[in-house]
Symmetry: C2
Subunit: 458 residues, 2 copies
């Protein structure tokens, strides 16, 4: 039986199985989900075996385990390293979800659940593509190694030790993954660039304890005011980051790339509609796509301090906090940028307060040469799988593993994205288009088949 | 028996009774404490009756009840209106309390509990002073009217309707209350000035929903950054409030008052020790006491937005919030100031965001002429009760009822404060000096006795 027909026959079974996966609240940032994380890892190990990947290990780490699998090696076939992550973002604020985040529900052609787009749904379709090939052909057309981590949403800290220890085991001809988005509905896309991510937490202490704002107000350093003043000075009026030397190593955009980006079938109106703010804003001199794909940024991800409940509390708090991240582009160095941001933040604060600055994670940007042969195979498979023209794009998000593996193994990385920009990854009501799930599944099956037939020369 | 000896004999009974009062978690800002509020009101009604105030009513309001009491009127004696509040601030953060906030504990001569200083302890000593006089003399030396509210910590909203409806009933020769502090340990104090308080909440909306900071970062209005920018511009480099016309109606400090303030037995070192910050800061050109007593301020009381949990969440939030208060001095008008602050805040925000601005409460400042005869009686009673020299001071906090009653009834207001500035009113580990509780109790008994003997001419 043709693999495409086989997939067609198994659509409802695949979707039901994905729902099982999504029901596991594998939130990596919260300790109370430790057992859910373990459950998700075991669940995946079973699915790998059904897909013909017979050597499976759940590798413990100091935090969440890595699920590793390897198919039995066949000669004269290329080896791909498939990557994904089974952890998800926290679901809060819960009251903004139309259906509960861990009770997967299909509405209007979309599957709603935390992790549906990022990344369980996209990971799952690879497993089903492999399984369909295994079932229809009796063996896998390619050699497969699989690394699925449980810490992508919290900086992939323990993945690096796993990779370092298993460096030789992980050697492959290409890295393949799906954890990105399509440019727009009906436009299958291959991502050739990702931004790096540094994440910081700042704690500013004014008074040694909370004080009465009447008795002390007007004479003591208010950490909220002082932190706000520092935040206000992190960008200039043109929305450029003011951290000295922040842009020093940024690669200038070529005229040809700017032209290619400008000609993509992307509409600012659709982007504005997703964002829903009264107006957009960003670094002067760059288009919206350039701002989110090709330019480094500094964003506030959280702020808190003092009384945040209902009503009034006349307090001057002892402490105020902020979570800040920078997105990095080639060739910014995450460690250097972390030092620059910390130094700048400390200089912006007056001596009346104390500052604790933590770098929670640091990850490199990545940029590929999409003229490689494997990208041609991938784009053809996408166009057949979806029946639409496919494009090359960059993305503003970060997948630390890609940059890391690229510099370690020097192999091409093929990022096939089946999410959409308005699917609320990281926000309430995350969802994945069911049509794109199956378009992706077909494309990936065709890509693996093509690799098996013509990929030996890679 | 002499009232002072009687008080001496009943010290431990009074302290135990106060602990009972402090065990009731009458937090006015939280709906879940409604029944505790009711319990505190009933408890007080009983204590009023024991103090010889036989006509007691628990007057319902749309939120928390007012406890009102009146003694049987005796001719040729002055009438005082005693005010207090039985509600308390929230106790959070609970983990910073050494002993639980609603389990009163004496350590090193201090009684620790939420409300011990603000205001249950200070209110309770008045009831015990009246009871001691009633027990020793068989009747009260003065006519007493008592108003005890349950909404002082949330803006006294329903007290005004009560006062308006009972305006004639409340007529008295003087208002007496204890809800302020002594200047320093061993310095009994009468407060002749209070700042007014306006409290605001600001909500800034950027994107219509939370967004992924990788996919959207760099191109959309981040409400945390934008709110911080506005907050940063609420003060200038000299810590003056930048709201246009904010200082227009502020009464200039006289040279004689500045001199009197400068000569008080007050040490900046002790103040710095309480605050515990690396340095102080405040409006240029004014001393610390002038800044907290005589100058208007704008303080941030809370801020929140985005992810505030452990670890990372790469989100650009839809909304960010701040709680802001202004302390006002004569002759600033709270309603006018609220309009000015709102207008300024809206002007500071760019058109890319939406702003919701709520005035949660607005209260007038108050300033008395302490050359009135009743203040001489009060200061003498304090000096006898404590055996120490007493002083006149101002205070930076706000008691809306004082300003309101002063302008309504045109009577002197006598503020006898028995708290201390480092007793953590509104913060964890709130406490009251047991020595000051009894010093206050004796002083108040002597003051009421003196008023009964010589106050008819007031």
């Amino acid at each position: 039986m043709n693999v495409i027909d086989f997939i067609e026959d198994h659509q409802s079974a695949y979707l039901e199985e994905l729902k099982d996966f999504l029901r596991i609240p594998s939130v990596s940032t919260k300790d109370e989900h430790k057992s859910d994380i373990a459950r998700a890892a075991s669940w995946l190990a079973e699915r790998l075996r059904s897909a013909g990947i017979k050597n499976v290990e759940i590798v413990p780490t100091p935090n969440h385990p890595v699920v590793y699998g390897e198919s039995v090696r066949l000669a004269n076939r290329p080896t791909i390293l498939l990557y994904g992550h089974y952890d998800v973002q926290p679901a809060e604020p819960l009251d903004l979800w139309t259906s509960p985040p861990f009770d997967p529900t299909v509405r209007d052609g979309n599957l709603y659940a935390r992790g549906s787009a990022d990344d369980k749904g996209q990971l799952h379709l690879h497993l089903k593509a492999l399984e369909a090939l295994y079932e229809t052909e009796g063996e896998l057309p390619i050699n497969v190694k699989v690394v699925i981590e449980g810490e992508e949403e919290i900086g992939s800290k323990n993945l690096w030790a796993f990779v370092a220890e298993n460096r030789h085991k992980l050697i492959a001809d290409a890295l393949v993954l799906s954890d990105t988005s399509m440019l727009a509905p009906g436009v299958p896309s291959i991502t050739y660039g990702l931004r790096g991510l540094n994440y910081y937490q700042v704690e500013v202490t004014g008074p040694a304890q909370d004080l009465h704002s009447g008795v002390f107000g007007g004479a003591v350093p208010n950490p909220i005011t002082i932190l706000s003043r520092a935040i206000a000075r992190l960008h200039d009026q043109n929305f450029r980051v003011t951290v000295p030397h922040f842009y020093d190593d940024v690669t200038k955009l070529s005229r040809s790339e700017r032209k290619a980006i400008a000609s993509l079938p992307w509409k600012e109106g659709a982007f504005r509609k997703i964002v829903g703010s009264r107006d957009l804003c960003g670094e002067k001199g760059f288009s919206v796509l350039e701002r989110i794909w090709c330019r480094p940024t500094l964003e506030l991800n959280g702020i808190w301090g003092g009384y945040t409940g209902k009503g009034e509390k006349t307090v001057i708090p002892s402490k105020a906090y902020a979570k800040i991240s920078t997105r990095l582009v080639p060739h910014q160095d995450p460690k250097k940028i972390a030092r620059l941001v910390e130094g700048h933040m400390r200089r912006l604060l007056p001596k009346s307060v104390m500052c604790k600055f933590d770098v929670l994670s640091a990850g490199k940007p990545w940029l590929a040469d999409y003229r490689d042969e494997i990208f041609r195979m991938a784009i053809t498979s996408l166009e057949t799988g979806f029946g639409k023209k496919a494009v090359f794009i960059r993305e503003g998000g970060s997948i630390p593993f890609v940059a890391q593996m690229h510099s370690l193994l020097k192999i091409p990385c093929v990022l096939l994205g089946f999410g959409l920009p308005d699917e609320n990854a990281h926000a309430p009501n995350e969802h994945l288009s069911v049509e794109n799930y199956f378009g992706g599944l077909r494309s990936v099956a065709l890509f693996y088949k093509e690799l098996g037939q013509n990929g030996a020369r890679l």
